[in-house]
């Protein structure tokens, strides 16, 4: 049970962190395009 719970949490941790990274890059792109 604990193993399955860890796997589900791990799965969503990966998804959330990668999505956050993409969001950071998007914001950076937005800032660069506004500042040019």
């Amino acid at each position: 049970m604990k193993k399955a719970k860890n796997e589900i949490i791990g799965f969503f941790t990966e998804l959330i962190l990668i999505s956050a990274f993409i969001a950071i890059i998007y914001v950076t792109t937005f800032v660069i395009m506004r500042l040019r």
Partner: protein
């Protein structure tokens, strides 16, 4: 005389036996496109695959029969056997798996078919097939299966699931460039890799399927597009069922979903396993992810700055979808393209191409589906450089041990730094030779460097050089570069050494 003869054939029999089993294991997978073709009544691909499975099956059986004594004598598998089996299996499978491509009539020559198979197995994604939009579903399934299993490792798959004999399996496993043991048993490690991939296969296919329906594809078509695009994204392959690649879908949401999955696919399987077993901080602490996030962030930022200066793209969304998407696709060595090949040459300028070449060579993570010389090695060499500078600046009595974190804390010794630097050097030499051959045939330097980095790093983005009419020498070199880049040199060098050693021995008098 007789004893020497037997001794010489001892190793060849071991190699033949295990190579035969791997060939048979992968050949068995042709059953899936055969069933698909049968259900969809695609008779031409059905017969193409039936002929191919027969030829490959007979060849695999002959190899096993030749090495049958290996099983009877319970022969010990040495390191050289493991490395040679891994590299030789890839060559045999390239030729055998190319048969259905060639029979389909979509290739202009058998070399082109081999090129596409090697591109699939190595998760590169450059294509020489003609009329991609009218490929049968059976052959499309086969293309994407090749890239999906190539990403996880064909030798690993064959040894872990498809054959019973797994004695000395770790030696084959290392030969394929995957040297991490998640658990002490190689078979269990391979199964963990496949478990992670299959869970993501399910989630990713469903996500892309739903999105495909939302953007207007019919449900059946959306399912196959979702499945194929996921297989390519996760394995950082870059194949797509249509000529226009990811541009076919004209969808921002589709692009975002693929970015998430190709970044996940480019991460180390050891890292996935660590996070899934409760070590969540590993994603932040690991030298490899640190290296990847820093270089990909800098790559995206500089590419956007460079292209903003050229006024190529008007707004943030346009720049994100055209610039960031391609840089991330190149860095993870995926090869999905959101612009046409010639746009790189005509619109991106030398600075944009330079960024792309750099990120393509760096690539993704070690022991993942990605290519390139890997973030782990970049991180180790960078840390080694800093450690050396610190040693020079500190007093001579102050002896400090330097460490790096990759799943666990590891000592940063000279041997690790040296071996990482050597592999990076091998990649750069392979890339430089490819660039030189490209320029020899009259292609511009920037274009030659782009295409050479793409094949050496197993990326798959093209600037327009890779077409069926390209010089045959360049085609052959690109096949070799993809092969070397994927197997990370060691096992291929062992195979070459083994063959040269064998030839030399033939000249030795008894």
């Amino acid at each position: 005389m007789m004893i020497t003869f037997k001794k010489r054939f001892y190793s060849i029999r071991i190699i033949s036996y295990y190579t035969g089993y791997i060939v048979l294991g992968i050949t068995l997978l042709m059953i899936l496109p055969i069933i698909t073709s049968l259900i969809l009544r695609e008779w031409n691909p059905f017969f193409d695959f039936t002929i191919s499975i027969s030829i490959s099956g007979i060849f695999g059986m002959l190899l096993v029969l030749f090495g049958k004594q290996t099983r009877d004598n319970k022969s010990y598998v040495q390191w050289k056997h493991g490395l040679v089996v891994a590299s030789l299996s890839w060559i045999f499978l390239m030729v055998l798996c190319a048969i259905p491509y060639w029979l389909s009539g979509h290739s202009t020559s058998f070399i082109d078919s081999c090129f596409d198979v090697m591109s699939g197995f190595t998760t590169t994604g450059v294509v020489l097939l003609q009329d991609l939009d009218h490929l049968s579903l059976g052959l499309n399934l086969w293309r994407h299966m090749l890239t999906f299993i190539g990403g996880q490792g064909i030798v690993v798959l064959a040894l872990a699931f498809l054959v019973k004999q797994v004695g000395g399996a770790y030696k084959f496993y290392v030969g394929e460039g995957k040297d991490i043991e998640l658990v002490p048993n190689v078979k269990s490690t391979a199964r963990i890799i496949w478990k992670i991939s299959m869970i993501y296969l399910f989630v990713g296919t469903v996500a892309l399927w739903i999105d495909g329906i939302v953007i207007g594809l019919n449900p059946v078509s959306a399912f196959f597009h979702g499945l194929f695009i996921f297989c390519s994204a996760w394995s950082t392959g870059g194949f797509a069922p249509t000529t226009q690649n990811i541009m076919y879908y004209h969808s921002f949401s589709f692009e975002i979903i693929t970015i998430i999955f190709f970044i996940l696919g480019s991460l180390n399987f050891g890292l996935h396993y660590a996070i899934w077993t409760g070590k969540k901080r590993e994603l932040i602490k690991n030298i490899e992810t640190q290296s990847f996030f820093i270089t990909s962030f800098l790559g995206c930022a500089f590419a956007v700055i460079g292209l903003a200066k050229l006024n190529v793209y008007s707004g943030a969304i346009s720049a994100f979808r055209r610039v960031v998407y391609n840089v991330l696709s190149a860095h993870t060595t995926t090869g999905f393209g959101s612009i046409y090949a010639r746009q790189f040459a005509l619109e991106w300028g030398d600075f944009g191409i330079f960024i792309m070449v750099a990120v393509m060579l760096i690539g993704g993570s070690a022991c993942s589906t990605a290519g390139g010389f890997k973030g782990l090695r970049v991180g180790i060499v960078f840390k080694g450089l800093i450690a050396d500078i610190r040693k020079l600046l500190s007093s001579e009595r102050n002896v400090k041990a330097y460490k790096f974190h990759h799943i666990k804390d590891n000592l940063l010794d000279d041997t690790i730094v040296k071996s990482s630097a050597l592999i990076i050097l091998c990649y750069i030499v392979t890339f430089s030779i490819g660039t030189a051959i490209g320029t020899y045939y009259g292609y511009p330097l920037a274009s030659s460097a782009f295409e050479s980095a793409s094949v050496t790093g197993n990326v798959g983005l093209s600037i327009g050089i890779t077409v069926p009419s390209m010089p045959i020498i360049l085609k052959l070199y690109y096949i070799i570069a993809m092969y070397l880049g994927r197997l990370e040199f060691l096992s291929v060098f062992t195979l070459i050494g083994y063959v040269i050693g064998g030839i030399k021995k033939l000249w030795v008098k008894e």
